[in-house]
């Protein structure tokens, strides 16, 4: 009996110690990970090591499990607040220029001379289907074929089109406003594309004359 008590007490102490060790080792691992990232990379051209610094959303979405609902909500709200709506109310450019941007996966690597938006593509076909004629498309994102048509956009000037137009602009500007851990880059927020380029992509997605909606 006495022996059993001692053993139990011993087990409890061991369990406590193990608990402390596990939480301490967690912190150790985080510190070692930070040190590893710091020592493993160097600047090359436009790709500097400060690119490894994470914002709230990047940090919260760096795990196989999604962040808690309250954190996700906060990321989405803060992302929504970053969106710059077109000042002149002009949402649309030329879908032909949009198609060219959608085809291009260029930009922002250490081999690119400049981080200026003019050198960047929209990379859309890497992950999405758009114009049905383009058979080389990726599947990480959903198909965007008939994007505007499916959403009932027949006339861009019609008030009934306004909600989907605004959502699409917002999604292109900062995808995390609508899904905290979206796989899609934040084209406006991260200065990957400028307003004129986003207008071209808007036309590609929503213009009834665009091949996407044929």
């Amino acid at each position: 009996m006495t022996n059993t008590k001692y053993i139990l007490a011993g087990l409890a102490v061991t369990a406590l110690a193990a608990g402390c060790a596990s939480s301490a080792s967690h912190q150790d691992l985080d510190a070692e990970f930070a040190a590893m990232m710091k020592s493993s990379f160097r600047d090359q051209g436009i790709a500097k090591t400060d690119r490894l610094n994470q914002d709230l959303g990047q940090a919260a979405c760096s795990s196989p499990t999604p962040p808690p609902a309250d954190v996700a909500k906060r990321i989405e709200a803060e992302s929504l607040a970053t969106i710059k709506w077109p000042g002149d109310g002009q949402y649309f450019g030329d879908w032909k220029a949009g198609e060219k941007l959608a085809q291009s996966g260029r930009g922002m690597t250490w081999k690119d001379k400049s981080a200026d938006t003019s050198g960047n593509g929209g990379q859309c076909y890497n992950c999405h289907q758009l114009d049905k004629k383009e058979i080389s498309f990726g599947t990480i994102g959903p198909s965007l074929y008939n994007y505007g048509k499916i959403r009932g956009v027949k006339d861009l000037a019609s008030p009934s089109s306004a909600p989907v137009i605004q959502y699409t602009w917002g999604k292109l500007w900062n995808s995390k406003a609508y899904a905290a851990c979206s796989n899609m880059p934040r084209f406006g927020h991260m200065k990957l594309l400028d307003d004129t380029q986003i207008r071209h992509l808007m036309a590609l997605l929503l213009d009834p004359q665009s091949p996407v909606n044929k």
């Binding site: 493993s40 090359q44 990047q58 196989p64 922002m108 690597t109 080389s136 599947t139």
Partner: protein, 265 residues
């Protein structure tokens, strides 16, 4: 004779419109089939074997006493157990960083100068050829990375964190592309890498000869190019992050057959 050539030329021209109808995946599959009996990686494999045996460097020595983890000079089976912990350097090393150690200690090369050499150039091209030959010595064998040493287990944990780490101007992690089933970029199928992707997929298919650019790539350059497309800064050759990612993939691939040196798009 001339007639035959002309007929062949017509045959080729006639085949052109049909070619255009094919997806690039189909064309590559055909090209792979054509090369099945002669993967250009074989040339690098042969060069690597010669380099292993040749006396070179300031010390005019061969690499035949290089310890790749299975004892001095043992190449067979080494590749499917790397990266692992090496007591003599006190570091986790993959095949390429281990080759740098051996070329430095046995042959007298300057380790830093080797690591700083651009891919495809000078001694780095030799390291790639050596890695190609070493991988071939494990062809058909199953991945079995050791996880006994605490450092080996720690690098698995660090590799997992690196796999899911999101950063950069496009918010990409490795998991953005390799975290779900049946995804592709354009027409390129993406292996799922947080678990065992199966025989000859992922880490079990590198080093590989890349048909699209005519280059032989080891795992260091494979990861370097992934991180470039993630829009990350430049990973140093043999850095801990590339080693940790290789440990993560290698341990996840336990039991998968290595087909390296392989043939890739």
């Amino acid at each position: 004779m001339r007639k035959t050539t002309a007929l062949l030329a017509i045959g080729c021209l006639a085949a052109l419109p049909a070619m255009a109808q094919k997806t690039s995946t189909q064309s590559i599959e055909e090209y792979r089939a054509m090369l099945a009996d002669g993967n250009p990686a074989d040339l690098f494999d042969a060069k690597g074997e010669a380099l292993w045996r040749q006396k070179r460097g300031p010390k005019n020595a061969s690499l035949e006493n290089c310890d790749l983890g299975k004892g001095p000079g043992v190449a067979k089976g080494a590749w499917v157990e790397l990266p692992r912990y090496f007591a003599d350097t006190g570091r986790m090393q993959d095949v390429e960083s281990r080759l740098v150690t051996c070329m430095s200690t046995l042959q007298g090369f300057d380790a830093q100068a080797l690591a700083d050499t651009s891919y495809g150039k000078g001694e780095m091209a030799n390291i790639t050829a050596l890695a190609t030959w070493i991988s071939g010595q494990s062809q058909g064998m199953r991945f079995a990375l050791p996880q006994q040493h605490p450092m080996e287990r720690k690098f698995y944990a660090l590799g997992e964190k690196a796999f899911y780490y999101r950063a950069g101007p496009m918010d990409f992690s490795c998991a953005s592309c390799h975290g779900s089933e049946n995804k592709r970029i354009r027409l390129q199928d993406l292996p799922v890498l947080y678990k065992n992707p199966g025989d000859g997929v992922g880490i079990a298919a590198w080093p590989a000869y890349r048909v699209s650019n005519g280059q032989m790539w080891g795992m260091q350059l494979r990861l370097n190019d992934c991180l470039r497309l993630q829009r990350y800064p430049y990973p140093k050759f043999g850095s801990d992050v590339t080693t940790a990612l290789a440990v993560y993939m290698g341990v996840n691939s336990a039991g998968a057959k290595s087909v390296a040196p392989a043939l890739k798009r």
